[in-house]
């Protein structure tokens, strides 16, 4: 696969505050790459560096092998779909989409043909004469995509393009974006803080936190083999425990030792152990590897989400079996459900559900969305 964009040791600060710290990233031809992280992690800054709206403090940005640090945005073969669309309110749908072609003085007939083609691609045929301010959020989004794609850029940058849409529309647009990416073969670099969106759309996910890349991988890798506690917690739900490697394929945590599938750690090396809530089986107390008391049960339709207190540490378990609060249960964990990670700066910060409540979780989500 051909590298389209390379970021080499890119560092960026605003007013002395480092927002990107030594970022190295390769973006390949024809891939759907997602920059994923909470607000303030540097994902939007990374996108703006590629678009040319910010300049790197240190490091190089290469576009098809050429250094483009000092190339202004209008000379880059890259287009952007902005957050909240940034459509030109004084132009109608046709003129918004035709904007880039008019700048290049493309002949009229060709403009007409290409705009029609683009509007067909985003399912807005017949909207040519409409004012953009009269369109719904989803329709404005489509105009923004058509406008950015009409010059056939090598790379399309998308800055949280679906954040302002409601859930149902967001799901439809996810499908559609993926379809458009496949149909055009253009590399998409997509910024989002929504992990579900990242997992369902991307070929490659780049998880970022505090200006650093935490992990680069396919959605399956990122979910199954998180590199540290931050990634494990940010992507899906995780129980993260302090553990010690006894030897290869044998780990001890919560006062018990378990078979596992990871090797290559030092003997007696302290590690972080991740167990996903859906990978824990509930068994009668006397048959469990671990024993605990159920402290809360929430019915979520497809499954129950229960919190179990095991020696003071609260686990989250997703199960279709009904158990009751205060019930004593045993837990059984398959060796391949146990994932071992090296200790990191994020160890001990995540993965304990003792202060967990759905409401709290939603509150903090809403907050981070408002900040964006």
């Amino acid at each position: 696969m051909k590298k389209i964009i390379e970021l080499k040791n890119v560092t960026k600060s605003f007013d002395g505050e480092v927002v990107l710290d030594d970022i190295c990233l390769d973006i390949y031809d024809n891939e759907f790459l997602t920059l994923l992280g909470p607000s303030g992690c540097g994902k939007t800054t990374t996108l703006r560096l590629i678009g040319g709206f910010e300049t790197a403090g240190k490091g190089d940005i290469l576009f098809m092998g050429e250094r483009i640090n000092d190339v202004p945005p209008h000379k880059r073969n890259v287009n952007t779909v902005f957050q909240r669309y940034a459509l030109f309110p004084h132009l109608n749908v046709f003129e918004n989409v035709a904007f880039a072609l008019r700048e290049r003085r493309v002949p009229k007939a060709e403009i007409e043909e290409k705009v029609r083609e683009m509007l067909a691609l985003v399912a807005l045929t017949g909207f040519e004469k409409r004012s953009v301010t009269s369109l719904s959020g989803g329709q404005q989004q489509r105009v923004a995509i058509a406008r950015a794609l009409i010059s056939r850029p090598k790379v399309l940058l998308l800055d949280e393009p679906l954040a302002a849409l409601d859930l149902k529309l967001r799901k439809d647009m996810q499908q559609e974006l993926k379809k458009i990416q496949k149909a055009t073969g253009i590399t998409f670099v997509y910024v989002t803080h929504d992990q579900e969106e990242a997992l369902s759309m991307s070929d490659t996910v780049v998880v970022m936190s505090e200006g650093r890349i935490q992990q680069i991988g396919t959605p399956i890798d990122i979910y199954n083999e998180p590199t540290n506690a931050f990634v494990a917690d940010f992507i899906g739900e995780s129980n993260i425990l302090d553990g010690v490697m006894l030897r290869d394929r044998r780990v001890s945590f919560s006062g018990q030792s378990f078979d596992c599938v990871d090797a290559g750690f030092g003997e007696k090396e302290p590690v972080d152990v991740v167990v996903r809530p859906e990978d824990v089986d509930i068994v009668p107390e006397d048959k469990g590897q671990l024993k605990g008391v159920v402290t809360s049960v929430t019915f979520l339709g497809v499954h129950y989400e229960i919190i179990v207190d095991i020696g003071g540490f609260k686990w989250m378990i997703q199960t279709t079996d009904f158990v009751d609060v205060d019930e004593h249960i045993g837990l059984y964990i398959e060796p391949d459900a146990i994932h071992i990670m090296k200790k990191s700066q994020y160890s001990g910060m995540y993965g304990d559900y003792s202060s967990f409540s759905n409401e709290l979780d939603e509150l903090s989500n809403a907050e981070s969305e408002a900040e964006e």
Binding site: G51, G52, F53, P72, P73, H74, V78, N79, T80, F82, Q83, R84, A86, L87, F88, P89, H90, L91, N92, E95, F99, A100, R102, E103, R104, S131, R147, A148, S151
Partner: protein, 287 residues
Amino acid sequence: MKRRGLSGGLPLAPYSLWALLFILVPLLFVAYYAFTDNSFHFTLENITRFFTATSNVAGDDGVTREVYTYLLIFGRSLKLAVISTVICLLMGYPAAYIIARAPARTQRVMITLIMIPMWMNFLIRTYAWMTILQDTGILNGILGLLHLGQVHIIGTESAVVIGMVYDYFPYMILPIYSVMAKMDVKLLEAARDLGCGSFSVLRRVIFPLSLPGVVSGIIMVLIPSISTFYISQKLGNGKFYLIGDAIESQYSANNLHFAAAMAFILMVVLLVCMAFMQRFADRRAAV
């Protein structure tokens, strides 16, 4: 609809009363006086007098010609007002753009500096310009010190235009600035992203989006400068009799009906101009 009647109508009542008493009624009086003679009988004489009255004036070449007195005065007013408005626009637009792009603190300071002269009395400002522009004034004093020769400005059209530009400049900058300050920076980024260089961004995005500000700036400068009378008397040494001067002197001479007729004609011309510009701006905005 009923709710609108209550919540919309009642709070508006004091303003409606105000508008009726102090805007509409006086305007009706102007119209009434314009179309009546001294004994308050209907007449078109005042209006026709504006268009037909003639007088003899000596031109620059010394030859005396017969001219339409008030049409000449009106044309002169229009010319000076348009020149002033164009200068205000050419200076004000870039200034507004630069201010709107400056850091928030600088913006506040700049806007305050622009508004400070407006706190001073209009007459005092005009007198200040007299002392600056006089043949023995501050400007010639500075030029003399620098051995740059002398200029004669006071009593010329230039002096009148300088006075008008100075007085009405804030009315051009402020509406343009307020439109530009509200403009979404993302739109400018989007234009650059789609291939526009700086000039193209200005021509294709910033200018069309700032048109409402430009239109109200033009209206707010053109209207007072077309009807001004004091500036021309003081800075033009009374040589450039403007329509405002004509109205003022007819009032002073207690010739209320003809003064009202001139005011009425001026009003109609300005209303037509404004309606025309507003339509132009609306059409641009609607595209």
